[in-house]
Amino acid sequence: MSEALPDDWRARLLLMIRGISPLDGSMFGGGPGLSPAQQIGVYAEQHVLRHRAALRANLPGLTAFWGPATDELLDAYVRAHPSTSWTLERLGLEMGAWLSARGATEEERGLAAVDLAVLAVFHAPPPRPLDAATLGVAHLGRSPTARRLRLERDAHRWRAQALSGETPAPMEPCDARVVVYRHEGRVRHLELPAAADALLAALDAEQGRTVAEAVDHALQGGADPDELGAAIGPWFRLFVERGLIEAR
């Protein structure tokens, strides 16, 4: 005998599956091997496992740092920030905010920032090609395949060591300007001198900037004129070679 479906049946199921409300079998029929509450419990268990696996894949540096505490922390994160997208790739996007809200360490925040930058540039659209002949006068912008980070611990080095199977040295305090970028199908990172980072930051403007405008902007922002003047050419060559900038 069928029973009326409550208007909020989806919402009720979601709360049980997410572990927010207790497993209540009243809407379910049960089966040969499972009680009604056990039936919804299967989905609740799979929910935990699926979200842990996705976050481990998306945040390999942070979860390597957390070690045995990982599952408990990921479960707490998912309770606070359930997936709001059709893709699990976006599940970890609130990790930085969540870590800050709970007073996480600089190591944790740095690793999350690097992990999320790697994920973002991996799936970013390709940069619009640059024409070398017009480089001097064209409007240039930072490529979507490049993300700038400023790190207070050398999380980028720790992460690279940990993911390559090495035992990483403890993270050291630093003031690193790091660009995470995709080039020729691989994601890498690069530490930039402060003036080079200022130059790249100057290209973040929506309409882009010419080289001359970018230099002016970097100088107005406090970049060291001597450092900037000595290396503009090599830096722009590097930006072009690594696909850090694009035509606008």
Partner: protein
């Protein structure tokens, strides 16, 4: 025979990360590949490069996991899916008779639907919209399920038959899912199959599953079991040769092992065709 003018692609496998290198670089023997649509609904990057190279070498059909037909349309998902379909130009595309989330929260699971008239009408509308906007044939897939709703007013097979008829869509019949659900809910899989419009089947799924305490779990991490091979044989005798896909998504073996599983499916198809 299918009522739809779609090709029989033979026996294929899912395009999965551990095999990207061997498939793209060596072009091993395989009739066709299925791709998880959402893995390629991206702005750019290596996955799309790999998809282009796959498409240049094999027939490719996208299979979605996030349309959430039992809930509202996600317009970002729809826009990206339509872009992928335009890129691939497949003979059909597919997703599941399920819901995955509600009110902005997604579980990323294939949650079963209550089999009621109201839910049926909703899913029919969703499928009609998908077919209208894409201009392509949509195939709806039966899910493995672990729960049943007291509110259901019709058996799942009847729900699916009515869904296909009213939406005028195709059926992606997952034979493993039929078996898993038959054990979990205590119905006869042969009766379930008899209730389906087999002339609407454009694709079959085969997979392995796990035996858990009190139920079967659709894990796609084992070879196809004997009971599922027997059901597949029974289905293929009714439908004739239909594009068949081996799903193996966890504990993924070598590509050679997948080829062997696909060969086993080909043997069943050949036996079914024999006079």
């Amino acid at each position: 025979m299918s009522r739809f003018a779609v090709p029989d692609l033979g026996v294929g496998v899912g395009f999965r990360v551990p095999h990207y290198g061997v498939v793209i670089n060596e072009r091993p023997r395989m009739d066709w590949f299925e791709v998880i649509a959402e893995n390629f609904m991206l702005d750019g990057g290596p996955p799309l490069d790999n998809l282009s190279r796959l498409q240049a070498a094999y027939p490719v059909v996208p299979h979605g996991v996030s349309m959430s037909l039992g809930d509202a349309v996600d317009e970002d998902h729809e826009r990206r899916l339509l872009a992928l379909l335009a890129r691939l130009n497949p003979p059909w595309f597919s997703d599941h008779a399920c819901w995955t989330g509600h009110a902005g929260v997604n579980t990323h699971d294939l949650l079963p639907l209550p089999h009621t008239e109201a839910v049926l009408r909703h899913v029919v509308d969703r499928i009609k919209r998908a077919q209208d906007r894409s201009g392509r044939l949509f195939a709806v897939e039966n899910v493995s399920s672990y729960l049943s709703y007291r509110a259901s007013t019709m058996p799942e097979a009847e729900f699916l038959a009515e869904l296909c008829e009213r939406a005028d869509c195709a059926l992606l019949l997952d034979v493993n899912n039929v078996f898993v659900s038959s054990v979990n809910h205590g119905f006869a899989p042969e009766e379930y199959l008899r209730a389906l419009p087999l002339d609407r089947v454009v694709q079959l799924h085969l997979a392995g599953h796990s035996v858990r305490e009190g139920f079967r779990l659709d894990t796609h991490d084992y070879p196809v079991c004997d009971e599922v091979w027997a059901l597949y044989s029974a289905v293929i005798r009714e439908t004739g040769p239909v594009s068949t896909l081996i799903e193996w998504d966890d504990l993924i073996p070598s590509f050679e092992r997948l080829q062997a599983e696909a060969d086993a499916a080909r043997r069943v198809r050949d036996e079914a065709k024999a006079p």
